[in-house]
Symmetry: C3
Subunit: 358 residues, 3 copies
């Protein structure tokens, strides 16, 4: 059974195929309006995320399918102590494909190892959110026409910003990408992403805390929110905040064909005075996200075979839990086979992908 837990579960070739399908869906929507008739998507949202849930539901309905699910864990069997594995097995009797959001990292992977239907990760804690990255990629494709030879700025909270990490991963597979990291020192990109992704793929990059100085050279500016609660020193936060707010004044110095992306919801980090600037592409991202979810649902349903998944052969199973990450599903799920992924000399947890220290 094919599932998508992480953006890297899709090869570059598969991404191209998804984008091609998405573009065909835009041009010929009626070709797809009945293609999933009789199929059911289960949206299992163990934490609320209205935007993502409505996007998946809208996608499935536009394919002619239907939707069941829940939008909040409070009302689920999980609150009665059911494991994610059992929930996945049960829902496999009710639906044809699952989109799962969960506060614990690795939960969608556990679901995919137990479900007899495909599972799409709709966001698991700070770990991964591959369909957001698909939205970003389709927007770049449609607005810039290429994935190569782009100078891409990431601005704001680069430390906790899951979409930022995921898009850097995705872009690392293309050539000619230059990365510009713009953040306060409190919120710089984690060392392991810098080392294992950017440097490993020989992507040139610069780090700065000054948006205005680098804005003129960017082809793409990916904005994220700087949350006050990340700062120990609130005076420092107030002092810095406005530097990371994008407005019409700052946009004057940007290229005429630069595009501005944002995973939404925004709060104040993008001023409404640029909403009508043609370079503002964050609402286009929303539309593109729905289309890529349509393409992904269609792909996975087409590939689905009614076989139960086997244990993953790339994992080394262990008797005791080697993962110490607090938000990992392995900390709470009963009956879980603990598993490790070996990559060169380093090991990481198979569920949350945290590095395991010896």
């Amino acid at each position: 059974m094919r599932s998508v837990i992480d953006i890297l579960d899709l090869s570059v070739c598969e991404l191209d195929e998804l984008i091609k399908t998405a573009c065909d869906m835009i041009e010929n929507p009626e070709k797809y309006s009945d293609i999933c008739r009789g199929k059911k998507l289960a949206t299992l949202f163990f934490e609320p995320s209205t935007r993502t849930r409505l996007s998946f539901e809208s996608a499935m309905l536009e394919l002619g399918g239907s939707v069941i699910g829940f939008s909040d864990a409070k009302n689920t069997s999980a609150s009665k102590g059911e494991t994610v594995a059992d929930t996945a097995r049960v829902v496999s009797c009710y639906a044809d494909i699952i989109a799962m959001r969960h506060p614990l990292e690795g939960a969608p992977l556990v679901a995919s190892l137990n479900a007899s239907i495909p599972v799409i990760n709709a966001g698991d804690g700070g770990h991964a959110h591959p369909t957001q990255t698909l939205a970003d990629l389709l927007t770049i494709h449609r607005e810039k026409g290429r994935f190569n030879d782009l100078t891409v700025g990431f601005c704001g909270d680069l430390k906790y910003g899951r979409p930022v990490h995921s898009l850097i991963h995705a872009l690392s597979r293309y050539t000619g990408i230059k990365i510009v990291l713009i953040s306060p020192s409190e919120l710089v990109l984690p060392e392991n992403i810098k080392h294992d992704v950017i440097e490993k793929h020989n992507m040139p990059y610069v780090e700065t805390d000054d948006l205005e100085s680098v804005l003129p050279e960017l082809d793409i500016l990916y904005m994220t929110r700087v949350q006050g609660e990340r700062f120990d020193d609130q005076d420092e936060y107030e002092r810095l905040k406005s530097r990371y707010i994008l407005n019409a004044e700052k946009m004057k110095s940007a290229k005429s064909d630069m595009i501005v992306l944002h995973p939404l919801p925004r709060v104040e980090e993008i001023s409404v005075d640029i909403d009508k600037d043609p370079r503002a592409c964050y609402f286009k991202q929303v539309a593109n996200g729905k289309i890529m979810r349509k393409a992904l649902i269609l792909k996975l349903l087409s590939e689905a075979k009614l076989e139960h998944p086997a244990r993953n052969e790339n994992y080394t199973y262990t008797a005791t839990n080697p993962c110490t990450h607090k938000r990992c599903i392995s900390q709470v799920e009963r009956g879980l086979d603990f598993a490790v992924i070996q990559s060169g000399e380093s090991k990481c947890c198979a569920y949350c992908e945290s590095v395991i220290k010896n």
Copy 2:
């Protein structure tokens, strides 16, 4: 883009057309069972209202369309600080029409000014709830056969009763309407409605606190609930309460063709002993509400064009917020263009329609 925020957004001619469509839907349901195939209604309920939400959803399904949405703001991006304007823009990518319920007055108007799809107000605080009024009007049409020459009693909480205000507005456009206002002194109809609607349209009216004395002359009795919490003096409330309870005994003095309406849910203000009285029309109102919502959805989808709405030219925009009403959306929405409607010498807020004092 045509939206319906207030019952007066629909002309008398359009109301006639909606009622005509509704009657045709009753006679020929199969003609409409597939008419909205492929269309999606988003029910954005920022506060719970199960009855209204299920009515809209049922309406859309009977037209062959489908539904996405949420039933409670807790699980939405709004709780992450998203504006109503941004929510409306995002949902415009997912659905073809919006039904919005919001605790803040004017929120559906803000949505309609930013959405690229039609917005129906499904209740915004104490401001407006036009589809309830459509339910009332279809019930009057079907039961009485006319909108003219009717003596209409409104009983109970006339101060806060939004459906009462709205129906008085709607009836003010017909002739021969006599209004009978029945309430305790604590809950009389607000002065501005008496002055700007009833008196302005030269509608004869009487005010009384005694239901029984006026019951024999009524063609229509619109009941509402008298809530204990509205009274400072609980003894006074207990003393008064039973006077505003309609029961079989009191119904004896009413005309044989009088009809009893109630927006529901009722608590104790209508005794169950009259539920089988043929004059009790409150459950017929429920069915009629669904049908009018079907007619309205169909009308707005037919008229919808994919244009972004322009700023409203009837508004005078202002730099600072002139509205002081606490429950107005203008108090919290970031990036809002403050706006005023001038009507003769008086000005009111464009969003909540509160009078602005100079």
Copy 3:
């Protein structure tokens, strides 16, 4: 109007017919994929039960129908003081069939007496949950091929275990059934079920607190959870708990064609190490539950006629409420006709079926 509130509302003959339909649905799903087009199921869940709700919704969608509803009472008119009777009348305007879950016993019966559409009880407090029993029966039929001549063990919490009580009721109508009751002394089967069901139908039975000693003779083992909070003495609970956990070691002594059932969700009472044992049928039960719900919805919609239900002639109506059960709907519902069912010398409440003491 035909409703199903209790498993005994269905005759043995009707059960056979439902099972026959279910088997045909399994073999020829496409025959049924459009059979309820245009019909709407309302899932009125006044308390959360995700598994049951998704099962009903999935069932209706697979019949080509659609679904409206709510998953939690917090967001309903009930929180504004509406009676169950009024909710049932209102929803009759929006849907074609109701599945109702309610924390108060008898609430679905009250709904069925007021709705103009069929009502299926999806669980009312500790009272009844007939569609769970339908799932159990189809699983027994498919796995054992018969309902007669079976030794059936019930293990765990037999005192509060609603599915246990209901399945014993259902099996009492067949011949050759031997019942084995396995529980700690704190959680034995209530006397009235032992007396009025098992003994009345001359079913041989044994009681024990030792699972292992009786396991070899069972054809069916129905597991339930032993909840710690049922015990006054937590040390006693900890001591006992493992005796009621089913694992691979214990399964060695069971018959090779015994089947293990569980209403789910399980917590720890069935070890995951038997999930792949072919005798473990609890996930098959889930799939069978959905199919029986499809068969039941189809049957009730086929039988539905648009008549309002009459007062039930088997009831003796009373002026004052004779029921003292705290969780009975008759304790809170306004305007209810109190009713008693006389059976020989004993009387019970028509709503929650508690015995009424004189």
